[in-house]
Structure formats: structure tokens, C-alpha cells
């Protein structure tokens, strides 16, 4: 406990030091103040845009896009991945396609999608879908294959029918992988949405704010939006997926599987 307290205080000292160094550089006048605004100015900008609601609107637009695409990826990737794990034929068909498409970064599709669907929401949502589909698919597939065959036989011997086998054994057994898949998929989706918004959005979204602020040298607004993006990513990673993990695999005592 004492050890932990020391770590916290040292972390605080580091952050304060880093902030002080930044502040000193910003005030030294070596760099143009437009390029390196003081922390005070960044905080003031952050408060202003939060108070007038524009930042919240941008964040809401980005969240809408990312959650829409992410949900589509779950709806498509999870059943298909499970099907791949259960059926050899589906696996033989989907796996080569997935391994050919996976190494293409999702952002490479942005220009093509812009041509096909025009600027706007559709492109961002589809890019998010593309980015988060493969982690979801491959993890669901790996999870179903990793279910211990002994459990399947035991459940079968105890008279479980196909339906019960699926819902009571396979899904819980694959859940550590599925949750890892959700996590990775969201991480990719979050990167993809910011990039897609920079390249393809018209006037809303956090990625667009950062990119647009560059044109007007609003470095303070850029740094404020970066902080918002980091905060949202952090909240999803720790709170949403962390509590999902606690409510399922940790409670079922499958942590070791989740780590491996």
C-alpha cells in the first residue's frame, strides 16, 4: 500500500514536471505561441468549447459513427466467426478472404469509399466497420475453436441438446476471446474513425475538428480535442470493457483464459 502511494506520488511529480517543462518552453518565446500555446490557454479553450456545446456535438457525432460501425461489425463478425469455428466449409471460404483483406489498413479504403459513397457519414461508418470487423471475426473464430472438447463431450453425455450446448457451453467458453475481440475491435474502430473523419468528414466530428484547426493554426483547439479523444478512448477501454470483463469472464473464473 505504501509502495503504491509512492508510485502515485512519483507519477504526479513526473506529470507536474512534464507540464512545467512544456509551460516553460511555451512561455520562453522560442516557438511561435500559435504553435505552442500555454497550458492555461489550452484549458481555457477546452472549457469554452465544452461550455458552448460545440465540442459535445462533435464528440456525439464521432461516437455515433464509431458505435454504428462497431455494432455493424459485431452483428456481422460475431455470427460469422462462430460459424467459422463450427463449420469447416465456412472456415475454408472465409479465412482466405479475411487473411487477404486484413493486412490492408482501413484508411487505405477511404479514397475509394469517398468515390463510391460521397463525403459524409457513410464513409466513416464503413471504414469503422472494416477496421473492427476482422478482430471481431478472428477472435470469435479462435474462441470457438479453443473451447475444450472435453466440456463439449461432458455436456453431450449429460444430455445437452444442440441448443443448450451452444448457449451454455460454446458461448461462455469462447467469451474470453470474444471480449478480447470486442476490445481490439473498438481500439481499431477508434483509430479508424478519427482518420476517416480527417479525410472524409464535412463539418462534424472530433477528427475533423483537429484537421480543420490545423488550417487556422488553432493549436490550442487541436490539443483540447486530443485530450477529449484520449479521454473517450480511455473511458471505453477501462470502464466499458473493463466492467464487461468483470461481469462475465472474471466472474465465471475464466481469467487465465482471458489473459492467454
Amino acid at each position: 500500500m505504501n509502495d503504491r502511494l509512492r508510485s502515485w506520488s512519483r507519477a504526479a511529480v513526473t506529470l507536474i514536471l512534464a507540464a512545467a517543462v512544456y509551460e516553460a518552453l511555451a512561455r520562453s518565446g522560442w516557438f511561435a505561441p500559435a504553435l505552442m500555446p500555454t497550458l492555461e490557454k489550452i484549458a481555457a479553450t477546452l472549457i469554452t468549447v465544452l461550455a458552448d456545446g460545440s465540442m459535445l456535438a462533435h464528440a456525439a457525432t464521432t461516437l455515433y459513427r464509431v458505435l454504428f460501425g462497431f455494432s455493424l461489425a459485431i452483428l456481422a463478425g460475431l455470427p460469422l466467426g462462430i460459424l467459422m469455428g463450427r463449420s469447416r466449409r465456412v472456415e475454408n471460404f472465409v479465412l482466405p478472404l479475411a487473411s487477404a483483406l486484413m493486412p490492408i489498413p482501413s484508411l487505405a479504403w477511404v479514397p475509394v469509399f469517398i468515390l463510391w459513397f460521397g463525403l459524409g457519414n457513410t464513409v466513416s461508418i464503413l471504414i469503422v466497420f472494416y477496421a473492427s470487423l476482422f478482430p471481431m471475426l478472428l477472435n470469435a473464430w479462435a474462441g470457438v475453436r479453443a473451447v475444450n472438447p472435453l466440456w463439449l463431450r461432458a455436456a453431450g453425455a449429460m444430455g445437452a441438446d444442440e441448443n443448450a450446448l451452444f448457449w451454455k457451453v460454446i458461448i461462455p467458453g469462447a467469451s474470453p476471446f470474444i471480449i478480447t475481440g470486442l476490445r481490439q475491435a473498438f481500439l481499431r474502430a477508434w483509430i479508424a474513425v478519427v482518420g476517416a473523419e480527417m479525410l472524409a468528414a464535412s463539418d462534424w466530428g472530433l477528427g475533423w475538428v483537429i484537421f480543420d484547426a490545423k488550417e487556422f493554426l488553432n493549436t490550442d483547439l487541436m490539443l483540447a480535442s486530443l485530450a477529449v479523444i484520449g479521454a473517450i478512448g480511455f473511458v471505453f477501454e477501462r470502464l466499458v470493457f473493463g466492467s464487461l470483463e468483470r461481469a462475465t469472464v472474471l466472474r465465471w473464473g475464466m481469467v487465465r483464459a482471458a489473459k492467454g
Partner: protein
Amino acid sequence: MYDAVPASPASATVSAIPGATEDARWRVIARTAFPFVVVGGAWEIVAHLGIFPPRLFPPLEAVGSAFVRLTIAGILPHHALDTLVRLLAGFTLAAFAGVAIGIAMGRSRRAEDIFLPLVSIGAPIPGIAYAPLFLLWFGLGNFSTVLLVGFVSAFPIIFNTWTGVKAVKEIWVRSAQAMGADQRRLFVKVILPGALPYILTGLRLGLAQAWRILVGVEMLAAVPWGLGWLIFGAREFLNTDVMLAGIAVIAVIGLALEKLVFQRLEQFTVVRWGMMT
């Protein structure tokens, strides 16, 4: 859009199966090629039906001829080479800095306390979000691109190296010390090999991250050559065939990085030493 890389995944899957007889090998190739043939056929049919304008939805032969034309003219290889050089430069930067910081964090309590808060704050922000900031600070072009790629891919390398060094079994360290190993030998002979599986995982993740970011950054940074720029620039002239040919090259490079570089490296080190199967 699925047909862009017909040959490479087939060969990759085949080589993964040891000791396959000639007959089984052909069956595997046919099985792997089958989905590509189906999707490619569907693409051809849709393209030739003329539902979409052919400029936006070119048939495969147009993509193929764009690929051949650009390759012969030397344009495509030049773009690919520039992208690869940037990737390697950025990744090398990240590998050295990341492994050094990670090892320092794993070995010294003080370094851990200093770097961990900074790294934990920087990591959850998607790398591409930093791109406009880097462009403002360091200007358009190569320098910003390489720096950003290095910066972004350093995070997984730092995290994994740190975990790896901490995961080296205490008993190995103690027994090496009991046998009289000095600090340097302890580091080179025990800690480094012990942490290597993690470091390799980190490098692999870092390279994948660098690859994903690089293509996007090239579109933003207005570099004169590069695959990302090729695709983005082709949009202006509605050259969908050029874009798809560029994406095919991106897929091949991505696959090659994963299959050739890292699986080999792993086989030569940790698998041979019996630390991973």
C-alpha cells in the same frame, strides 16, 4: 474489391502445412483459391452489367492493366519503395527508442515511475489524431511522417518490452548471480533472452501499427511519393483502377511483413531456443 491479391494467401497457407503430399497440396491451393474465384467472378459480373459507372467500378482486367502499366512505367515501384523506406525509418526509430525505454522501465523503479504516467497518457489517443499537430510542428513531408510513425509504433514496443523484462523469472536472475554473472552478462545472457518473446510481440504489434498509420498519414502529409498518396491522388481523377491496384500492393506488402519478416524472425530466435512453440 476482394480480388486484389489472388496468389499470395494461397502460397502462404500452403507453406504452413509441412510434409503435404503433392496431391494434398493442390487440394489446399484449390480450396484457398476458390473463395477468390467466387468473389472475383461476382465482381466481374457486377462490373460488366453496368449498374455502376465503369470509372467508379472498373472490371478486374482494368485494374490488372493499370497495375501492369504503372509497374512498367516504374511509378508503382517508386511509390512502394518510398512507403517502405518511411516505414522502415519510422519503425527503426521506434524499435530502438521503445526497447531502450521499455528495458529501462523494467529494470529501474525510478524510470518506471517517470515513464509509465507519460506513456499511459499518450497511448489511448489514436496515433492518426496526432498527425495535424506533427504537421504543424515539423512541417509537411517526410520528416513529420517518419517521426509520427515512429512515435505511434513505439507505444506497443515500450509496453511489451517492459512487461517482458518484468516477466523474467526471478529464479533465473538469482541463479545467474549465484553462478557469478556480472551485470553485463546478466543482462545479455539472461534478461534479454528471457524478455525476447515479449519484445518480439511488441515489435510485431508496433510494425502492424506503423503500417496502419503510415498509409493514412501519407494521405494527409502531402508527401510527393508513397502508396497512400497514390491512392488519395488518384481520387481526384476518378482513377479507381489505379486506386485498387495501389490497395493490392498495400495488401501484398502487409501480408509479406507479417508472414515473411516476423514468422521467420520468431523461428530463428525464440522457437529455436525452445521458449515458444
